[in-house]
Amino acid sequence: MSVATTIMTPTTLTASVSASNQPLQLGLGSYEGIAPMIVLGLTALALFTVDSVYPDSTNNTLLSGLTVVGSLIALVITGTQLVTGVESTELFSGQLVVDEMSLFFTFIFTSVTALIALASHEYIGDREYQGEYYALVVLAAIGMTLLANSNSFATAFISLELASLPSYALVAYLKDNRGSVEAGMKYFLIGALSSAVFAYGISLVYGVTGSLLFTDVAATLTEGIDGSLTGVLGIGVVMILGGVAFKTASVPFHFWAPEAYEGAPAPISAFLSSASKAAGFVLAFRIFITAFPADAIAGIDWVLAFQILALVTMTLGNFAAATQETVKRMLAYSSIGHAGYVLIALGALTGAADQSFVLSAGMIHLLVYGFMNTGAFLFVALAEHWGIGRTFEDYNGLAKKAPVACAAMSIFLFSLAGLPTGGGMLSKYFLLLGAVNAEAYVLAVGLIVNSALSLYFYSRVVKAMWIEEPASDLTIDGYPTGLYAAIVVAAVVTFLLLPALAIFSDPALTAGSGLF
């Protein structure tokens, strides 16, 4: 391994520094692209302000309302920009990029944030430290949004940490609850380890290519690097892959996921398994497609690595989910399984067929998943709010008491399994088509087998709710407005995504074309 190919003298160092010293290109118009982030930032500051003006009393409705309104404004801005179309713009000397993909993911993050802020209103009820709770949720959402916009390893690392650090604290939010604290600790330990591995991987890639900007890294790699450095680069790429696998809860860094999702407050489980996972995937798309184009680093076959990861992740997630006794843990493992499905989007980039099709299919699946999975976890939040227990049997006969919520839950579960009650069927179908077109037949078979298996454990919940007789002491107290509203909105959107995706399949399937 000879790394010292060039030894710079101090004079050349200063020369190259001043040469790269371009003026910052920042007109007023360029802020338009990061407006959702600015709105979210202002929301977080407003939450802190409210909390410090009234330190002794907690106005739950005000805090939750502020968060919902803030994320809805960001959502509307993002939606408008998505509909009117946006040119790919680089901001801050190329550190951030605003394009269709970043807006698409910002749309997912802001809608999930709005849903869980609405649901948290009753879930955290009259607990202490609510200002901090909502502020941390919004700060984590900013981190995820920034991650979707990042165009260099520096911004990617910082925004990854900005998304992760509030999440650790949020998982351990119920600090008198041993499960929540244990979950927070395990999430933190594995998160800290994987971010150190990620940073070390970045340092190796920087050493080989001399830049942190995704586009510059790709340019250097396309020119070709010294053959003796391929080993160092390969280790760097594998370490970066590890950091991404942690954020997306994929094998081999998935161990934290079942614990963290089970122990965390249920709205936070929803937030982590939908938004945080999507953030991990947008990072993976940007790094591996923009910075490490498959044809530029011929020696390191990351497409094959993702094929193996996808297959192992979806199989492990679904088989483990089938053996669970508690609903929340079953959803946690099914969330690992869905990470495996979306990994097909990277594993099928074999160059055999239209690459942007399969990438868009992965993005669409994340969008649908953002609603159906959030909804399913919010139903668990509702059950925890009523205090009816955690196992499948505890849900027996629930439909007689709460038909609306149970109907919504059935929509989520069947859509997760891939039945036509929601957008889940079409997004899985797109992924399947993408895998077949790319001649990755093993992935296609894995997707079908695992979806068939998943129908078994999703139907167990539906059967318990609608068919089994309720236990004699099953009582539920009240119908919490915010939680109900969030669940119903998620169900309506999940359902409407089915016709919407069928009608607008052509524009939807070009969502990922900007990266190629």
Binding site: I158, E161, E182, M185, A192, Y206
Partner: protein
């Protein structure tokens, strides 16, 4: 001038010491220290490669890493504190209310 591969060997050694600490020690505080070692291994690389590549990007990134490591420790210590209050121990293997 010291060739870059020496720095690479040094940082790899520091990284492996950190990784070894994480895999073998059960005290959560020592776990935190081990993570710090791994992050600082990355910093050694960044500063060394920064000189070699002739730009300051790496040195700036190592400043970010230091700041983020401090933030991470702040959150981590908080979590370890509530861990101690709930389980009367900072051993990461005592907290087993859920299956691992």
């Amino acid at each position: 001038m010291i060739p870059s591969q020496y720095y690479l060997v040094l940082s790899a050694a520091v990284f492996c010491i950190g990784l070894f600490g994480i895999l073998t020690r059960r005290n959560a505080l020592i776990f935190l220290m081990s993570v710090e070692l791994m992050l600082n291994a990355a910093n050694i690389n960044f500063v060394a490669f920064s000189i070699q590549n002739g730009n300051l990007t790496g040195q700036v990134f190592s400043l970010f890493t230091i700041a983020l490591a401090a933030a991470e420790v702040a959150v981590g210590i908080g979590i370890i504190l509530v861990l101690y209050r709930n389980f009367n121990d900072v051993d990461v293997t005592t907290a087993t209310t859920m299956r691992w």
